[in-house]
């Protein structure tokens, strides 16, 4: 359940850092932080998807 809050936190922090970096003129670092936030949330979602597949496999006894 807390993974949703973690992902929302990552999204908010990424956008705030983005605004700050844009404000002080560092656009390129801003786009890099956006990528970093995206990659972190993708890594968090991967084992959740893997858990879904194992659950379905165990459920239907395949």
């Amino acid at each position: 359940m807390e993974i949703i809050f973690k992902l929302a936190g990552i999204g908010l922090i990424t956008s705030i850092v983005n605004q700050i970096l844009k404000h002080c003129g560092k656009e390129e670092i801003a786009s890099i932080t956006t990528l970093a936030g995206l990659i972190i949330s993708l890594l968090m979602i991967i084992n959740l998807v893997e858990e879904l597949f194992t659950t379905v496999k165990a459920l239907f006894a395949i």
Partner: protein, 128 residues
Amino acid sequence: MADLVKIIGVALITVFAHIIIKQTKPEIAMIISIAGSILIVIMAVNTLNSVISNFYSIFEKTGVNTNILLPIFKIIAIGYITEFGANVCADAGASSIADKILFVGKLIILLVALPIINSVIDLIMGLL
């Protein structure tokens, strides 16, 4: 009844988080909606467990050999996962990719159903 309320709570929280993050970071918002849907499915699994075990006991009682039952469950699982992937893609706006996933899912279901079709054909040929 109680876990239904819990699941609806999780769904609502996911939708709110999705909308909040959608303005600034649409890609992370999509990841949040994927995570929320997976959580809801995992929470709903234990109710499904009793249904599946009930099916198994029914099939034991009627004496139908269970090797027919396995492909049926495999098809249900394939159908569910294909529909999950297709909905995620449609949610993200890529409806053409979603249709491709559905198409491949149907093909795989046909592939899995082939042995059943063959056994039915053999049965009919035996009757004639």
